[in-house]
Symmetry: C2
Subunit: 270 residues, 2 copies
């Protein structure tokens, strides 16, 4: 998985309203969405047949740090309040299709896969707290370096639910040692979008042997004096899909998120 | 519904460990649990056949203030980490049984109703933040008056999910006008157990015409200068069961809660 852009980028993606951003993706633009529509929550996506929906929802309930559910579209529904006027089949820049747990396609829309029994789960994304980190004076390496956030399969197992089981996937951001406490404090105010870090400082303990080779996204350079800080990641349900091997499941391509109409501030706690 | 006690009360229920409290209930003690096992989270209960479980879980996801899920026992499971060594069929002091949406029994254990397809939802309870309110210097009227918290069906409709729909049930605590802001601030730190109030000060706007006649629990006297403050209540799923009319559903009797092994502080956010 590498960062992909196909199509003409708008001049100021950070200033686009969510519905305008979704329209560009609907019309075929493919690009990672970091920095787009500032102030609005971006989201991970996991779409499964109704027969698997209870397992997915229960998996999310039991693993709220990687799988904070922001909204659920009923079976066959293609729009909802988080994407008013939108269409879940077209409004994400890039989708990943899994058949029997194997990634079989990356597509710009999923019209050809759509079925009336598909249930859509919209899952919180750490992009929401990245703006808060930046506002707190903490630089985000992958944004500064113009790449997708690095993500890793950890050796921590999620709590299983029915047929759903898999590893905790984590995202990593290098933070100056003097700002690690601030990063914890700031992100802990966003429990609906992964919240506080799950681990600070020792990738080996998470089973990560080489930070330069992420399982999803792009590697980032770690400046001297920076500590690798790990947050639970919304790609986790897709890792569980790969283990659980349902006949069909669809996710977003990592880093290519659904831009919702919800404001980031809506998910902040005191 | 009034407060019920049958059996000999222990000398210091506030000091009992949760497992010791559950044992007393298992052995037949019936009593409201307010003030029991201080520091440990008490919980609402809703038990439904597996065929209804997705609707209940989705209803909870869509209505997180009244229905914050703390844990789910798989179909047929009778124990879990929130009640280590316990038995969900016996460890709550009093249960309410609904058949076709009608309350048909109040029983001290549900062994005779148990089926292998029953899924148990353990739902956060405002008792968790009551201790925090008291620590903040805010008196809790129903505790001081030795009765169950008053609960009301409001005219606010929950967001439906599948077959589950119903009114938001609210609990009411009178708070001195000078402490209302403190009550909001303190309870907003506990989003997993109903969080901040849903309404402050005007019961008529919630469709409540007589605070002296609650739908569940007991009335409390409202001292002069106190404002009625309303929080979302974990009896809400039971109100939805009454509307949705499944063949069988089981809840706790209001005020007679499951005492869990989780600490109240576990549910506090910064």
């Amino acid at each position: 998985m590498t960062t992909k852009t196909h199509g003409a980028l708008p001049a100021n993606p950070g200033q686009l309203r969510p519905d305008a951003a979704r329209r560009l993706f609907r019309e075929g633009l493919i690009t990672p969405t970091a920095g787009w529509s500032r102030g609005f929550a971006q989201a991970n996506l996991i779409i499964v047949p109704q027969a698997l929906a209870f397992d997915v929802l229960l998996f999310a309930q039991r693993n709220p740090k990687p799988c904070p559910i922001l909204g659920v579209l009923d079976a066959g529904e293609t729009t909802g309040p988080l994407l008013a006027g939108g269409d879940i089949r077209t409004d994400v820049p890039l989708y990943t299709v899994y058949e029997n747990g194997i990634k079989t396609a990356e597509v710009a829309n999923i019209a050809q896969y759509w079925r009336d029994d598909l249930v859509t789960f919209i899952v919180g994304c750490s992009f929401t707290f990245e703006a808060a980190l930046q506002d707190g004076g903490i630089n985000i390496a992958h944004i500064d370096q113009g790449v997708n956030v690095p993500m890793y399969r950890s050796n921590i197992r999620c709590t299983p639910a029915g047929s759903m089981s898999g590893p905790l996937v984590v995202s990593m951001r290098p933070v100056p040692a003097s700002q690690v406490a601030d990063a914890v404090r700031i992100t802990s105010r966003y429990p609906a979008v992964h919240g506080a870090p799950v681990h600070v400082g020792n990738p080996a303990e998470l089973g990560i042997t080489d930070l330069g080779r992420p399982d999803f996204g792009d590697p980032v350079a770690i400046p001297p004096g920076h500590i690798p800080v790990f947050w639970a990641c919304g790609v986790t349900p897709q890792a569980a899909i790969m283990e659980s091997r349902p006949a069909l499941a669809i996710g977003h391509a990592p880093g290519h998120m659904l831009i919702t109409d919800a404001r980031d501030t809506h998910y902040q706690v005191p």
